[in-house]
Each structure stands twice: as C-alpha cells, then as structure tokens.
C-alpha cells in the first residue's frame, strides 16, 4: 500500500464519492466534507487505509460521500464503532464525523469515555446547535431561550453544554474549534488533528440554514482565536471557560498523553490454553 501512495498523487477529488449529498443548499457541512477530503490529500493517505465512521444526523451522512471505507451506524454510537475498529485495526486512520445531538446527547457517555480512553481517533463534530434531520429541535448546545422548536416552544429552558470544556476535563488529547466559513482552516486543523496521537476533538461551527437561519451571521461573528497552542491543561481550561464560543481557527489544547492501543502479546496456539482446564 505504501507503493500505492508513491505511485499516485492523491488530490481532494480522489476522496469524494459520486453520491449526491442530501444536505440543504448553503449547509455548512459541504465545507466540512471538502475540508476532510483536502486534509486526506494533504496527508496523502491511501483511501483504502482510511475509515470514516458516523452515527445518525445530517452530518453523519458524510461516510457515503467519501471514497474511503465508511461506516454509518446507529444514532449516538459512532465513537464506540470507531474505537473497536481502531483497536482491532491500528494500521487504519479512523475519523469520526457527526453532529451535536448525536455526539453530546444520545452519545454523551461515549464522548466522555472516548476522551478518557484516548484511542487515536479524530472526532469532527459539526455543531449547529439543532437537530436538523428531525426538523429543528433543541440540542445540548442550543441556548436555553431558543424558541424556534415546536417541541420546546418556550425554549429548552436548560443551560447549553460546553463540549470543549467537557472534552478537556475528560482527557481529550487535542482540542480545536473552527468555522465552516473557512474551509481551508478546517482542512488545516483536521490535518493536524489526524497527525496528533490520541483522541482529537475538532468542533466545527457549521450553520443550519434551514432551522437556524440566524446562524448565517456566524461568519461575521467568528474571530481567529488570539491564542497560542498550549499543552497546559489549566491554561486551556481558563481559555475555554472564558470564551464566547466564537474564537475559532486555532488548536486550543494539545496534550502529550500516549494513545490507548492494547498490544496483543503472544502468538500462542489456542490449544495451549487447554492447560487451564486439564487435570
């Protein structure tokens, strides 16, 4: 497969499938898809050695839109599928894509433990603060007073969840935020995230033009975070807890914990284990 890499010079196009996305015109996820394919081209990874895993939601449709190996599972369980795949097949590059509902609500427990377990995965969350596929309900990152949903017409009434603070507290090894309005930057951040060992968390602000049209303003609200990358978790925590969610474009934390990758020790025959039972 190395020979393959040398023979071919992959471009972003090589990582795109011919399946047409179901997304609405103007959806931020188009940019993220483009950024993922650019990152893979930058890294010159052979498509057959990459897997993209997802759960359910608009952004979870990405695997079928790529030409790498894909896995589109059930709602909220992308991280465990990716964890099992990477542990069983450490030779693969494994990306996980999804949205804020999939990752932080139904999949919340897996998010905590994926950060903690620190398997070498890159988790790209397209955060639009809404459930788009079910046509506009409040997600864990929705502001409590958003009254745009028929399900919670008076607003969700509960504080939103800060995914990056949680990621840091739970042990993620790489934390970044970017905006789909700058796909080149998203591609650069994803490239760095793939290169960094352990669990990399990339939050991408990706507007839902249909159910949160006001998010079209995000492109004017975001600013490049005026910070340097840090490996100091306390500094990163202060940084994350004081920002307003619109500081983008930078890696906000880079840790040095070794990735979790159990190494099978032996090559014994199964018959050798019969000694456990033999009298």
């Amino acid at each position: 497969m190395d020979a393959c890499v040398q023979q071919r010079d992959y471009t972003a196009k090589n990582y795109k499938s011919d399946v047409k996305p179901i997304w609405c015109p103007g959806c931020g996820d188009y940019s993220v898809l483009a950024a993922i394919t650019r990152a893979l081209a930058t890294l010159q990874l052979a498509p057959e050695n990459v897997a993209v895993v997802s759960g359910i939601g608009c952004s979870s449709r990405i695997p079928a839109y790529t030409s790498v190996y894909g896995f589109h599972g059930v709602h909220g369980r992308a991280l465990p599928v990716a964890t099992g795949l990477k542990i069983a097949r450490p030779d693969l590059t494994v990306l996980v894509t999804g949205g804020d509902g999939d990752g932080f609500s139904i999949g919340g427990n897996h998010f905590l433990h994926a950060c903690r377990r620190n398997v070498d995965l890159t988790y790209i969350v397209m955060d639009n603060q809404v459930y788009g596929m079910t046509k506009g309900q409040a997600s864990p990152t929705t502001d409590p007073d958003w009254e745009g949903s028929k399900l919670t017409p008076d607003g969700a009434g509960i504080e939103s969840f800060h995914p990056l603070v949680v990621a840091l507290a739970a042990g993620a090894n790489f934390i970044a935020r970017c905006s789909s309005s700058d796909p080149n930057n998203v591609a650069d951040i994803i490239t760095q995230a793939i290169r960094h060992p352990g669990f990399s968390m990339v939050q991408v602000l990706s507007p839902c033009v249909t159910f949160r049209p006001e998010q079209l303003e995000w492109k004017h609200m975001v600013r490049t975070a005026a910070v340097d990358v840090t490996d100091d978790a306390a500094r990163a925590a202060r940084r994350l807890m004081t920002d307003d969610g619109f500081n983008v474009g930078k890696v906000l934390y880079k840790g040095d914990r070794p990735a979790y990758q159990p190494e099978p020790k032996g090559a014994a025959a199964v018959a050798d284990l019969e000694a456990d039972f033999a009298l």
Binding site: N49, F71, H72, G84, A88, R89, A267, A278, L279
Partner: protein
C-alpha cells in the same frame, strides 16, 4: 447418565469456606477418576453472604443434578434456609449440623431427613489453625469413599503457596472429620474411579464459552461487566492477548456491542458477553449488525428477569427477546448450548455461522450452566473456524458491490485496507453498492437476501441433539440447561421400559421445519420442558412448527431447576 452417583450440599455463611471446600472436593474427586458437576448458590451480598455448593459425583459424566440430595452439611445455618427450595431432601437424606451453631432450620427438617450432629467448630479447634470447613470436607470424603491419599495430594498442591503450616492444619482438620464420621449412617459410596482413558477437564460453562470463542477465531472482545456473564470475560481477558487478540472493557453495553461491530467491520471476528439487562440495551445495534451485515456474536448468560430480577440465579426466559427483540424484519441466529461442555461447541459454531453468514448470532446460556463446574472428558477440537467470504478480483472499471444480491444471499465482504473495494457499511436501507436507498425495490431485495442467506444454509445435524428411541411415540422437547435433567429422565424412562425420544434444540433460529418434522415422525405425544414462567419455548414451538395433537408443557420460572423426576412423572402419568 448411567453409573453410580452421590449428591451432596455444603452450606454456610460467608467466610465459612464452603465454596473452597467444595472446589477441593471436586478436584479430589476428579483425581480419583470420578466425574463431577457442581453448582453454587449465593445470597445477594457482595461479601459475607450465605453460600451453598451443590455437588454430584459419579462414575460416568454427569448432565444434571439429581431429584434429591443424599447429604446436606451445614457448617452453620445462618440464612441458609433461604436456599431450601433449591436443596430438595427426602426421608432417606442425611443432614449434618454443628450442635454449637443452633438447630437445623425447619425448612430442612420437615423433609424427614435423618439429622446427625457433628461439632465441626469444636473439632476444628482441637487443631492449631484448624477450620470447620475442612472438618466437613473430611466427614464427606470418608462417607462417600474418597481415598485419603488423593485428598492429601490436592491439599498439598492447592495450599502450597500458603506454607507447610497451613497444609498441616488442613490435613489434621480433614482427618478429624473423617474419624468423626466413621460410624455415621451410610450414603452411597462410589466405587474406585476408573483411570481416565481420555484426558479430563475441570471447566465451568463460562470458561467453556470463552474457549469456544477462541477456537472459533474470535480475537476482539469488548464488554461491560454483568452477573453472571463476567467470568466469560475474566477468562478471556488474559487468554486473548496470548493468542494475539484484545479485550476492552467498555463504558456500557451500548458501547460494547458497537465496539465489536467496529472490530468485526475491520475484519477481526468479534464477540461480547452479557446477561438479560445488557442484551436489552444491545438490541438496537443487533439490528445494525443484521442490516449492515457485520458478523458478531453476543453471549447472553441468562439470569432471572425481568429488570434486575435475581441477578445471581438462573432462568430460561430471554428466548423471546433473543428471537423477537429486534425491530423491523431482522433475521439473525439464535443458538443455545445443551450442557456445560456444549458451551464450547455451540459458541464455536456460533462464531463460524456468524462469520459465514455475515450476521448477528445470539448464544443463550444461563447462570446454572455458566457458573456450573464440570469434570468431564476433554472437548475435542472441531473444525468450525470463522470463515468470511472475501471478494474475488474485480474486472477493470467494475464497481465493488458490497451488498450484491447473490444466489446464496451472502455477499463477499471486503475489509478496510483492500484497495479498490472501499464501501460504506450502512444501517440505512441501501442498494447493492451500499448507497442509501429508500426505494421499495431495494428494500425488498435486501430483505430477501438477508433472509435467504439464513434459510438456505445447510446447518447439518447440529441443529439439535436427538437421543433415545428412534421409533418412540413419545418425545421430550427441550433446550438449554433443561436438556441436562431431560437426558437423565430419558435414561430412567428407558431403563424402566418406556420408549422415549429426546430432542434438545441447539439452533433456535432460524427454524428447521423439515428436520423438525423428520425428528417427530411417528411421535404422537410431546412433553415440552423449560424453565420459564410463561412457557416461552412452548409458545415458540407452537408458532413455528407442527406439533402432534397431544402436547404437554412442563415449565416453571427460575431459580428452581427442572428436576429429572418431574419429567419422568409427567411422562409416566401422562393422562
């Protein structure tokens, strides 16, 4: 089951050491050339609860407990009365109790069993560091004819790490027990064991399940601890790395099943083990494995349900959820071992079938079977190894169709790393290439093929264990751990001149109508035997198969085991 047997129980509060003494007795019996079957019952406490070991020893392999126990030894009686229903005694039984520990509970004495006093605590005190459980062990060994040499060998080997003093104390306490019981009334004494002509194993059902997984080729396991399945995982955890595999403790059962789906998608045969509550959590993702055609095996060591139920005790009541628990039309495999030894074969076969058919397989064992320890002949290696069909070379310009609508229904499966075969596995309905599709024709075609691959497969003779009289007009139909007492009942019935056939079904789903009809040829009446309150197996058979006109059902919930005598009675008093 033939041969001679003796059945006994050692009971006491936590710390009395009855489980230790029971394990030593089992080991000694095995060395003496006998076969053995031991189950445990314990209270809900994490430590210090009451415990009982139920042991049956014999000159031939043992499939089940007897109807009654010959001997109950209570090292003390604290709360042991709670287990009375699980320890049937009769007027011919003996109860040995320590007079210093109070009166034998009325729940035991009302059986009419003869009571004998043995001051185990006082005798233990005559020996430096002596323990009452060793006195009990000595009394039992003397009564059943277990030679002292064998026992001393076991004590020396087992207690080696604890030092010479501990060994000497145990031997002295053991001898005190033997001497004190010298003139006790007789219980069956077993003749000297026959030297093993084949290698023998001492193994639990849960260990056998783990071994079956490895023999079948499983090299990735993800799981969440749950009683009574944890021992499957605890045996596999150190074993897997030795053969190049990995076990991961997941954050919950949703994670464990999805991790194994990920591992298997990566090409590594994968398995998880759980019990009823965990299986309930896994059902959505079982459907994913079916739809995305990713081979996985889920072991369900059943316990008393619903909800938390009785976590430490056995019941055969997860059949419905295993067969019908998935939403949508989701054909998959459900298998059930018919004995402790068969946990190995059935698990290995399940891995083989899941890999061959690219689907989910659920294996239903239970607490009684999983936590039972048997001394049995070594389980011979069979050739079922997971075999997944990989795609052949593609012609230039031809797109790989992951979900190709083949004649057999099995579509060759690429694994990541294979260049030119990239595809997306999907729980969304899809067309042959794997692209999501909401078209009726794609749904129909994929449903058809996912069913066809299961129904068209030749499962061979392993679908059921059929024993007894070929031409019998009476059949016993059973499954899982109820097959043990049914086997013993069959032997008793045949010894008494009744012609009976036993069908213990191993492949629960998909159904095998032709083989079933053939097995029931000439049968006019059927007794269905199972351990569930609602008769789940009986209802399943009724729904899926043609049964003869005369059908009786013997079923009750756990934790009480089905006894061979009850089966015999149902057959002999049919009308």
């Amino acid at each position: 089951m033939g041969g001679q047997t003796v059945s006994l129980v050692m009971a006491g509060s936590g710390g009395a050491g009855v489980v230790t003494a029971g394990s030593l007795l089992l080991e000694a019996a095995a060395r003496a050339g006998w076969y053995a079957y031991m189950t445990r019952s314990s209270g809900p406490q994490i430590r210090g609860g009451e415990a009982a070991v139920m042991i049956r020893l014999g000159t031939e392999p043992i499939a089940s407990h007897d109807d009654r126990f010959h001997l109950l030894v209570g090292v003390d009686w604290q709360n042991v009365g709670r287990f009375a229903a699980e320890i049937p005694l009769g007027p011919e039984s003996l109860i040995i109790g320590d007079p210093g520990e109070g009166a034998t509970p009325e729940v035991f004495t009302r059986s009419g069993a003869q009571q004998i006093a043995l001051p185990m605590k006082a005798l233990a005190k005559t020996v430096p560091d002596g323990r009452p459980n060793m006195v009990a062990f000595g009394a039992i060994a003397g009564m059943i004819g277990l030679g002292e040499d064998v026992v001393l060998g076991v004590l020396r080997d087992t207690l080696k790490r604890k030092g010479e003093e501990a060994i000497a104390a145990s031997i002295a306490a053991f001898r005190a027990g033997v001497a004190a019981a010298k003139d006790f009334p007789a219980v069956p004494r077993l003749p000297a064991g026959t030297p093993a002509t084949r290698e023998r194993w001492s193994i639990t059902g849960n260990e056998a399940t783990g071994m079956g997984a490895l023999r079948g080729g499983v090299r990735f396991v993800a799981a969440y601890p749950i009683t009574p399945a944890t021992e499957v995982l605890e045996w596999l955890a150190p074993a897997l790395p030795k053969v190049g595999g990995v076990l991961v403790q997941a954050e919950d059962e949703l994670a464990s099943i999805n991790q194994i789906i990920g591992g298997s998608y990566g090409g590594v045969p994968s398995l998880t083990a759980t019990s009823g509550p965990g299986l309930a959590l896994m059902t959505e993702s079982l459907g994913l494995a079916v739809a995305a055609e990713v081979p996985i095996v889920v072991i369900d060591v059943m316990r008393v349900g619903p909800s938390t139920g009785i976590a430490t005790k056995s019941e055969q009541a997860d059949l419905n959820i295993a067969v019908y628990g998935l939403h949508g039309d989701a054909p998959h495999l459900v298998l059930a071992p018919t004995s402790v030894a068969d946990c190995l074969f059935t698990t290995q076969w399940a891995v083989h079938l899941a890999e061959s058919l690219q689907t989910a397989a659920i294996v239903l064992t239970d607490q009684a079977m999983g936590q039972a320890r048997a001394v049995m002949p070594r389980s011979a290696a069979v050739s079922f190894i997971g075999q997944r069909e990989k795609p052949a070379a593609l012609a230039e310009g031809v797109q790989y169709k992951r979900y190709a609508n083949t004649a057999s229904g099995v579509s060759p499966m690429a694994i990541p790393g294979m260049a030119g075969y990239t595809y997306t596995a999907d729980g969304l309905e899809h067309n042959e290439t794997g692209t999501p599709s909401s078209q009726a024709s794609d749904h129909q075609a994929q449903l058809d093929k996912r069913l066809r691959k299961l129904t068209g497969y030749h499962y061979g003779e392993h679908w059921a264990d059929i024993t007894g009289d070929q031409d019998a007009d009476t059949a016993i139909l059973t499954w899982g751990s109820s097959a043990g007492p049914a086997r013993e009942a069959l032997e008793r019935l045949r010894a008494a001149g009744h012609a009976v056939k036993l069908i213990a079904v191993r492949l629960i789903s998909p159904v095998q109508p032709e083989k079933f009809a053939q097995a029931l040829q000439g049968v006019e009446r059927v007794l269905v035997v199972e351990q569930s309150h609602s008769g789940q197996f009986h209802r399943y058979l009724r729904a899926q198969y043609d049964l003869p006109r005369q059908v009786k059902a013997l079923h009750h919930p756990g934790p009480l085991a089905v006894r061979p005598g009850a089966i015999v009675e149902h057959i002999t008093q049919w009308s």
